[in-house]
């Protein structure tokens, strides 16, 4: 793994093809939406500096290819990730169903130190379309079952919740980082219990 600069967060965006990964990234970084993105081949990449708790951090956001046949190529991108964003399209239930496999795949390939507590964030995108087929309740239930993953319903088009979501992503990634620093001092220690509910405290939850 590359040695990391202080204040650099590596965020991976995963999800089925066409759910709006590139759009979300661009909305967050450039505050623009365009209907004219090419399908992502391999991976794309943008950075943005943000303030989290009075601290400047650079977010390095990796946008990946969504088609299943590219899933196995992810390995190279996943290494050293600080947070993983899972995106689905609220109008297409299948894209929600595949979150499980995206999450599993990520955990296996990225091999984070503490898979149980690795920070994920789930985004249900395209709420602007208004014909949501995955109810918030259902998504929230799934998130809760996976160790309380924060869930946001977003629209990359209208910029709804995008800023908030990425703020939460940054926070969670940072929280994880500080923990990891802890681990690094005691490299043999593997599990730190009693902290699994931390998302509940600082998570604004979804607002829709």
């Amino acid at each position: 793994m590359a040695t990391k600069k202080k204040g650099l967060l590596k965020v991976i965006i995963l999800g089925d093809t066409g759910v709006g990964k590139t759009s979300l990234m661009n909305q967050f970084v450039n505050r623009k939406f365009s209907g004219q993105y090419k399908a992502t081949i391999g991976a794309d990449f943008l950075t943005k500096e943000i303030m989290v708790d009075d601290r400047v951090v650079t977010m390095q956001i990796w946008d990946t290819a969504g088609q299943e046949r590219f899933q196995s190529l992810g390995v190279a991108f996943y290494r050293g990730a600080d947070c993983c964003v899972l995106v689905f399209d609220v109008t297409l239930p299948n894209t929600f169903k595949s979150l499980d496999s995206w999450r599993d795949e990520f955990l296996v390939q990225a091999c984070p130190r503490d898979p149980e507590n690795f920070p994920f964030v789930v985004l249900g995108n395209k709420i602007d379309l208004g014909n949501a087929a995955v109810p918030s309740k259902r998504a929230e239930r799934w998130c809760q079952s996976k160790n309380n993953i924060p869930y946001f319903e977003t629209s990359a088009k209208d910029a709804t919740n995008v800023e908030q979501a990425f703020q939460a992503i940054a926070k969670n990634a940072l929280a994880q980082e500080s923990e990891q620093d802890l681990y690094n001092e005691f490299p043999d220690q593997i599990k730190l219990t009693g902290d699994s509910n931390r998302f509940n405290n600082n998570d604004a939850g979804c607002s829709c």
Binding site: N30, I41, G42
Partner: protein, 1133 residues
């Protein structure tokens, strides 16, 4: 029967002429009376055919005044030979019309060959072709290693195997699927390595053992061989491994010999080698040939010959070599790149001999004239074997005409049949012309000038060197390409140099057909395409409107239909949309075909293997040419990801597309090597900056920015990304030029060689990962641990591979020779294995492996603790049916691992529950139980227990015990189909199999054996019989005793149940609705609980069931069994 014409010395002493015409003689061997017993002769036919013994009758062909005789037919009976004779008389009366005697001979020879090809099964011809020594070697190979008949030996080498420090002298056998070694020095040594298990292969540059080859296998073993004929052996091994790997990539089933080769008029090929070896050599040569001239994948090189070509543009004769294959005549100059030619035979009008006595340069010449006048003709001279070449060309020409005729009629018929059923949507469309005509490029005035200038240059080239596929391809052309093709000519240039024009010409109307059939596309492929249509090249106006989108949809859909193996892969949309800008829709389709199938092989398949392989190649090239950068990139961990999109989209997705098309020009002209060259140049140019990068992100950003700035200065509008004008970095022409200058040493041949090497690594790596994923995906749901699962998976994989070989063999064998039922079974299997083994990433990974019943039966017998009991297969069949939830005759790996886990590892209760359930109806149908009750003949020990059941037996008529047949796949399936197709009665049966399944699940998950249906007496007796069989294996008399005792108790319990049920019946009436229960009402019955509790009450019985099974040991024993008889275990039974 007809035989391959061969020259024979005329030895009149041995033969008598029977009949004679001008050209043919029918002869009978001397010493054979006419009354020679017919039957004995018949009996000898087969034998004598394979022996060198001549059959007693033959027909010779001869022309007047010629000393040479050709034997064309031989037979062991007069009737048989007369049949051939009559045919000759009837069909070859045209011979007198030929002018020259040689032509007559050629004609006869050709005719006889075609008769052979049409009438005799390949196997016989093959057998005839093999040299004698090889037959012995092949025989030895099969007996030594217990190889099944379908495993074909390619060749053998004398070789020593280094085990420790001692070389063992022996023989190395290379066959289609295995490498085998045998030596009997210091005791027998036998080694068998499957090609699919090889991880790496290398030549060892050692001074002491200069002829060594080292092989690494997947289980991390090393083998070291010294082979006398190392170079050849090594190449052959590499080729065989490559075939195995391609098989793994494609999941196409197996390797088929090219039988066309048999019929080839081969003149110079030495016959001392096995047919297969020759076939493989021919393949290697053909592949190189196709690569050199970018020809379609089915072109087979027929031969090549030195000649000079007259090049009219400079009035010189250039030395080079002529290559000839079914559909093309090609020429390549001896001086590399000087000039080359590709002449499609379909365009050839005539090939004739020309001699000019005054010009020594033009001697022994052939003039090839073309049908259209664009190219006047080609003059080849100083051809040593001119007559042979010309006869060969005419032979091929005559075949082409036939092919073209038939092709058209077929497509017409197909079309008319399809017209009827096509829907309106796909009817209303017209082939879209190049989009650039509708949306012209906005060029700067300078750019426009440049275009015009470039167009003029090209036109001049066409005038001087010809136009169309068969233009003279010279160094000057290469320069023109590098400078960029003008927009107006791009279409033509791409089509010619990519080979797409050839594909399109050979498959007229195919594109329309695919579009008409577009409704046959898989639903999810359709969705994937639909989702990406507007995400292909959105910056180009045509792709913001229906006109471009619809054309793109048709092209992608048509391709998915043409090649379902690839279907649709992201990146194809981007490439296709650029193709549509410059070419018509149909042309774009064929360019896409060439790109996906020849230029970027395996790139877009379900695992993107081709692209991964090229990433490996790229890494090696970086290490070789930019070692410093390699170190840095390796540290950043990004070597394998930077260039993926460059390769997958030929730079279109990373560069402005108006610049990227220049790279495409070179790509279609020169093949994939150009991508490597450009990629290396890009890295080299940015080397300094890249080395300073802190992390992977920074490096990627740097490269992205650089590539986006590649420009061509012709466009009016600047490239804009995210609202900002992108800074220009380098002119694309300069980039291309630098690439060719700096990395010109990367030839197509070198790239192919590296691809071969990395294909092996990549495929093995993928297989390994897939295996790990499969294990991981099931490990939480089954009782087996990782080691056991891995072992089981390897076992299943090996068996499936073997079965594939087997299926392949059966497919090829002529229909008459196999019994039809066997064939159907294999048809069935083939279907199963081709349809289901396909890797589908949308499914959980355990879905990648399926076992059918035959394989399950084998696994049950070999691996389950109850497998050795008699009648184990009956039980296996019922277990299979219980867990095959979707009734498709296949279990996925998870289901398999789960049930095996239950049998080996689960709690006693669960094991007993399983046994109990598989003895309930409808899994164990009534009819079977009736048959089953008559089994005292085979199990003496069982008789004790059976005394209790005499009563029931006397009441039931006992059908003959033969009814209890071993379940084969066939009748097993027929169970299923019957239960699916028949009326209500059977529907209820299916439902109750379902209810058994749910009962089983609830028992396993909740230990709730209450939900188990009750069992009647007949079924109980069958169950108890199975128990006896299982215990019998233990050979412990106490167990038998215990069984008898418990059986007694259970029987009495059943009696009690009967009384109880009766009284209950009187009190409350039929309350229970459960089918099984109401059937057994008032009858003898026991419950699952009673069964389990009673069996457990005896500690010795409980011990047997609670004893853990060492599955790993069982697997390794089974595997050893396979090595000693390498046939698939399924077949060995």
């Amino acid at each position: 029967m007809w035989i391959k014409p061969r020259q024979v010395p005329i030895a009149p002493s041995q033969w008598n002429n029977e009949t004679q015409t001008l050209y043919f003689i029918l002869q009978r061997r001397k010493g054979l009376t006419e009354r020679g017993g017919l039957t004995s002769l018949l009996a000898n036919t087969v034998q004598s055919f394979f022996d060198t013994n001549q059959p007693p009758f033959r027909i010779l062909h001869q022309t007047p005044n010629s000393e040479v005789y050709y034997e064309i037919s031989s037979a062991s009976t007069l009737d048989e030979i007369n049949k051939d004779w009559d045919w000759l008389q009837k069909n070859l009366d045209c011979l007198t019309r030929f002018e020259k005697n040689e032509d007559i001979t050629d004609f006869v020879v050709c005719k006889v060959r075609s008769m052979i090809a049409d009438n005799y099964p390949i196997e016989i011809l093959l057998e005839e072709e093999q040299p004698k020594y090889f037959k012995t070697a092949s025989q030895k190979f099969k007996t030594l290693f217990n190889m099944p008949p379908e495993e074909k030996l390619v060749t053998d080498y004398s070789c020593s195997y280094w085990k420790g420090r001692l070389p063992r002298q022996g023989c190395l056998y290379l066959s289609v699927n295995n490498l085998c070694f045998y030596s009997n020095m210091f005791g027998d040594t036998k080694i068998i390595i499957r090609w699919t298990d090889v991880r790496d292969l290398e030549e060892v540059p050692s001074l002491i053992f200069p002829d060594s080859v080292r092989i690494y296998t997947c289980d991390n073993k090393k083998y070291f061989f010294s082979i006398v004929n190392k170079r050849e052996a090594f190449c052959l091994m590499r080729q065989l491994i490559d075939i195995a790997m391609k098989q793994l990539i494609d999941e196409k089933i197996g390797f088929t010999e090219d039988t066309d080769l048999l019929l080839k008029m081969s003149k110079n090929v030495p016959k001392s080698q096995s047919f297969l070896k020759r076939d493989l050599d021919a393949r290697a040569v053909s592949e190189a040939y196709r690569l050199l001239f970018r020809l379609p994948g089915n072109e087979k090189l027929d031969g090549s010959i030195d000649a000079t070509l007259f090049t009219p543009y400079n009035k010189k004769n250039v030395w080079g070599r002529i290559f000839l294959s079914q559909n093309y005549l090609c020429f390549d100059s001896r001086v590399k790149g000087l000039v080359s030619l590709i002449i499609p035979l379909r365009d050839v009008n005539l090939a004739e001999k020309v001699d000019n006595n005054f010009n020594p340069e033009i001697r022994k010449s052939i003039l090839i004239s073309m049908k259209n006048s664009a190219m006047p003709g080609f003059l080849f001279s100083r051809i040593k074997d001119r007559d042979f070449l010309i006869s060969k060309i005419s032979e091929l020409l005559s075949k082409i005409e036939i092919n073209e005729g038939s092709d058209n009629s077929i497509t017409l018929i197909r079309q008319s049949s399809i017209d009827g059923q096509s829907d309106d949507e796909s009817m209303n469309w017209e082939i879209q012309e190049p989009l650039i005509r509708l949306y012209p490029r906005k060029l700067t005035s300078e750019g426009r000038l440049k275009e015009v200038k470039s167009e003029k240059l090209w036109e001049r080239y066409f005038i001087e060197y010809g136009r169309g596929v068969s233009l003279y391809r010279t160094t000057e052309l290469t320069n023109l390409i590098l400078k960029g093709v003008p927009d107006g000519l791009r279409r033509e240039v791409w089509m010619i140099f990519s080979g797409a024009r050839n594909e399109m010409a050979c498959n007229k109307n195919q594109y329309r057909m695919f579009v008409k059939n577009s409704s046959r596309i898989f639903e999810n492929t359709k969705e994937e395409i639909e989702r990406d249509l507007r995400r292909s090249l959105p910056e180009y106006p045509a792709f913001q409107e229906d006109i471009g989108i619809n054309a793109l949809r048709r092209v992608l859909t048509a391709y998915a239909i043409r090649n379902p193996q690839i279907g649709y892969c992201q990146a194809m949309n981007i490439v296709a949309s650029v193709l549509l800008i410059y070419c018509s829709e149909e042309e774009a389709f064929w360019l896409l075909v060439c790109l996906c199938e020849y230029l970027l092989p395996d790139y877009y398949n379900t695992k993107v293997v081709g692209a991964l392989i090229d990433q490996g190649v790229m890494e090696e090239l970086i290490a070789r040419h930019l070692p410093n950068l390699h170190k840095i990139l390796d540290c950043l961990g990004m070597i394998r990801m930077i260039s993926l999109s460059w390769f997958l989209t030929i730079f279109i997705s990373v560069m402005p597309h108006f610049s990227a098309v220049n790279i495409m020009d070179a790509f279609f002209y020169d093949g994939a090597k150009i991508i490597f060259q450009v990629a290396l140049t890009v890295l080299q140019t940015n080397q300094e900056k890249l080395i300073k990068c802190q992390d992977d992100g920074e490096a990627i950003q740097l490269l992205t920015k650089y590539l986006q700035g590649v420009h061509n200065d012709n466009d009016e509008e600047a490239v804009v990304k995210d609202g900002e004008v992108v800074e220009k970095t380098i002119h694309v022409e300069k980039l291309l030029h630098t690439s060719c200058v700096n990395y010109g040493m990367l030839t197509t041949g070198l790239i192919e060689k590296l691809r071969l090497k990395h294909r092996l690594r990549t495929v093995q790596h993928l297989e390994e990962n897939l295996g790990k994923n499969v294990v991981r995906s099931v490990i939480n749901d089954v009782y087996l641990n990782q080691e056991e699962l891995q072992g089981l998976l390897d076992f299943v994989r090996q068996e499936i591979l073997t079965i594939q070989v087997r299926i392949n063999y059966v497919n090829k064998t002529p229909k008459e020779s196999t019994s039809s039922s066997l064939e159907e079974t294999f048809e069935e299997k083939k279907k199963n294995y081709t349809e289901f083994i396909k890797y589908d990433p949308s499914q959980p990974s355990y879905m990648s492996y399926h076992v059918d019943f035959d394989l399950f039966r084998l696994i049950y017998v070999k691996l389950s603790p109850w497998g050795t009991a008699s009648y184990a297969e009956d039980v296996a069949a019922r277990i299979f049916r219980l867990i095959d939830t979707n009734n498709d005759g296949l279990l996925n790996f998870k289901e398999l691992a789960r049930i095996l886990g239950i049998m080996c590892r689960a709690d006693v209760t669960e094991k007993l529950t399983l046994l109990y359930i598989v003895h309930l109806p409808p899994l164990l149908p009534e009819s079977d139980v009736r048959a089953n009750t008559n089994f005292d003949s085979d199990a003496d020990m069982a008789t004790d227990a059976l005394e209790f059941f005499r009563e029931s037996r006397s009441s039931v008529s006992t059908p003959p015990s033969s009814a209890l047949s071993t379940p084969t796949f066939d009748n097993f399936i027929s169970y299923e189909t019957a239960s699916c197709t028949d009326a209500e009665d059977d529907v209820s049966e299916v439902i109750s199999v379902k209810s058994l399944r749910s009962a089983f699940e609830s028992c396993i998950n909740n230990f709730n054996s209450k939900s188990l249906p009750k069992m009647d007496q007949a079924h109980f007796s069958a169950l108890w019989h199975t128990m006896y069989n299982i215990m019998q294996v233990e050979s412990n008399p106490n167990l038998t005793f215990a069984l008898t005792r418990i059986g007694n108790i259970l029987f009495e319990t059943g009696e009690v149940g009967k009384r109880f049920m009766k009284s209950k019946d009187m009190k409350s009436g039929p309350k229970e609705s459960d089918a099984a229960e109401s059937a057994s009402e008032g009858e003898w019955c026991i419950t699952g609980d009673q069964f389990i509790a009673n069996v457990l009450s005896d500690s010795s019985l409980a011990d047997v069931f609670s004893r853990p099974v060492n599955l790993v040991l069982k697997i390794s024993t089974a595997e050893e069994g396979r090595i000693s008889s390498l046939q698939s275990l399924t077949e060995a039974r």
